[in-house]
């Protein structure tokens, strides 16, 4: 049977396409999307800026240029509407690394309880998010940017990796042999920021418990499986900010029990 990978393909196309545009801005001087996640410009005019990076720089006490602030506002507003962690699933290059680790985990049967280390809580990322801002304020330099595999990987693609490739490999090995969804689901403060931003987003996965056959394929592929707590039980939308809107659950569901929809604020409590 041919597996449904519609959203997976769409996501990979978006991720690689955006990376290619960023790469081309440096390599060929294209002007479509120049810069990196820290700050970039669409067609040299519309600024985009990462909200957490912006917060870190502001925490150091430096008064940032207006373009960065406008860019951060645009990104915040965008993900506020379409789902904060859509960034994680549709844009972030590290997602491809951790998804690969996850896929191999499943193939190698490393997901079994006895080999899945669970020494971290999923809430750790919110602590790291706050601590990152405090460290930025104390030391006077954007603290997460020094270690962020996300921007290190992106700059690696655009400007060359150097030793930075090691950070990406570390994340891969950690997710593969260490904690399942260790980076994206437990530690990443960027994802945490986007979780907060997208808490009330409009685009949501909706579950239909009537057609669900309880195969649990959705929970197997979901990187944040706790957000699917309603599966088999209630016909409601996923409302947790941690949902990345990746659509893998929609892809793997053979029962038409999961699909994207516009959030209905009146029905959901």
């Amino acid at each position: 049977m041919m597996k449904n990978i519609k959203y997976l393909l769409l996501r990979r196309t978006t991720q690689i396409g955006l990376l290619f545009l960023y790469f081309s801005a440096n390599a060929y001087g294209w002007n479509i999307l120049a810069g990196t996640f820290g700050t970039s410009y669409i067609f040299g005019t519309i600024p985009l800026a990462d909200p957490y990076t912006t917060l870190q720089v502001l925490a150091t006490g430096f008064v940032l240029g207006v373009d960065v602030l406008i860019g951060a506002a645009i990104i915040t507003l965008f993900y506020f509407v379409i789902g904060g962690r859509a960034f994680c699933a549709w844009v972030c290059p590290i997602n491809m690394v951790t998804d690969l680790a996850n896929w191999i985990r499943r193939k190698l049967n490393l997901d079994k309880e006895e080999v899945n280390y669970r020494f971290m809580k999923r809430s750790a990322r919110y602590w790291i998010m706050v601590v990152g801002l405090i460290v930025s304020a104390v030391v006077g330099v954007a603290a997460f940017e020094l270690v962020s595999p996300i921007t290190i990987m992106q700059r690696g693609v655009v400007f060359g990796f150097g030793m930075g490739a090691a950070v990406v490999i570390v994340i891969f090995l950690f997710d593969l042999f260490g904690v399942k969804n260790g980076w994206c689901g437990h530690l990443c403060p960027l994802g945490a920021t986007y979780s907060v931003i997208g808490k009330y987003s409009l685009i949501r996965v909706k579950h239909n418990a009537d057609t669900c056959t309880a195969c649990m394929d959705c929970k197997t592929v979901c990187p944040e499986s706790q957000v699917l707590h309603m599966v088999t039980k209630e016909s409601i939308s996923v409302t947790d900010g941690e949902c990345t809107n990746c659509g893998r659950c929609v892809d793997v569901c053979d029962d038409d029990a999961l699909g994207f929809s516009i959030r209905n604020f009146t029905k959901n409590k």
């Binding site: 990196t36 720089v57 430096f62 008064v63 940032l64 960065v68 602590w127 400007f159």
Partner: protein, 274 residues
């Protein structure tokens, strides 16, 4: 009983989380503080002082992209773009990761008249106002990325060999590097042509360092903090009215000793036991 247990659990996990966050925060601060120290790095034109620059730079790379893709960066022979001056620090570069810098011996700063790297900076880490001249125009000659320093023991011009490679390479010809003519006493009939860097004009572009013919450059650019001393407020140029302005409002601090009771002429001429 169950109630007090859950409260105790809550307290315990809260303490644990706060404690771990403090632990992580301290390790993180220590690491951040140590990688911040990279004093031997040259930044793009208009960069704020290093400490402020590190806080301000958002690591977007727009300056490096503008540098490599500028119109003037086409190789005349091949028609292809050359490598840019500005590099974005990678892991292993021993420069704070993601920040722009340049290495003169690899690619120096060519001091483009329109300074493409600076106006694109969105964060303000590269300060355009520091590069404006009296007419409010961008002026690359205002840049101060560093200061060229000559090591006269390895500079062959100081040996008496005729070499003016750095002097000729300098974009501010005869301004930032001047040649001092000194008689060669050893031969009695030749002259030394000594390169002298003029602090007020040198922008730190590094073209001299790249042009230097010795095995390791005898002229090299150092960051201003390292290359320049500072006389401080204790010393004043008595012959310079402007410099005297500096201490116009200084408060005299008089020390009373047995010596100072008399005028200086008196105590110097008396044999007073002190």
């Amino acid at each position: 009983m169950a109630h007090s247990n859950s409260r105790r659990n809550f307290m315990a996990t809260t303490f644990q989380s706060v404690g771990l966050a403090a632990l992580g925060g301290m390790l993180w601060s220590g690491y951040t503080d140590s990688v911040k120290a990279s004093p031997l790095v040259l930044r793009p034109p208009g960069a704020l002082a290093e400490e402020d620059f590190l806080a301000a730079c958002i690591k977007c790379g727009l300056c490096a992209e503008a540098c490599v893709n500028r119109d003037t960066n086409i190789d005349r022979d091949t028609g292809k773009p050359r490598p840019g001056t500005l590099q974005m620090a990678k892991g292993g570069d021993s420069v704070l990761i993601g920040t722009p810098f340049f290495v003169p011996t690899e690619v120096p700063c060519y001091m483009c008249e329109d300074i493409p790297c600076v106006p694109v900076c969105p964060s303000g880490a590269l300060d355009m106002s520091s590069l404006l001249n009296e007419k409010e125009e961008l002026d690359i000659n205002k840049a101060s990325m560093g200061l060229a320093v000559v090591h006269k023991e390895s500079c062959i011009a100081f040996w008496g060999i005729q070499c003016d490679a750095c002097y000729r390479a300098c974009p501010l010809l005869d301004e930032a590097i001047t040649l001092e003519y000194v008689k060669n006493e050893r031969t009695g009939k030749h002259a030394f042509l000594l390169p002298i860097v003029q602090d007020h004009a040198c922008t730190g572009c590094g073209l001299c360092e790249q042009a230097c013919v010795t095995e390791e450059p005898a002229i090299f650019v150092l960051p201003n903090d390292i290359a320049k001393g500072k006389a401080g407020d204790h010393y004043v140029k008595g012959w310079d009215k402007k410099d005297q302005e500096r201490v116009k409002d200084a408060q005299g601090l008089e020390t009373k000793t047995k010596r100072s009771e008399k005028s200086s002429a008196d105590y110097l001429n008396t044999e007073l036991e002190l």
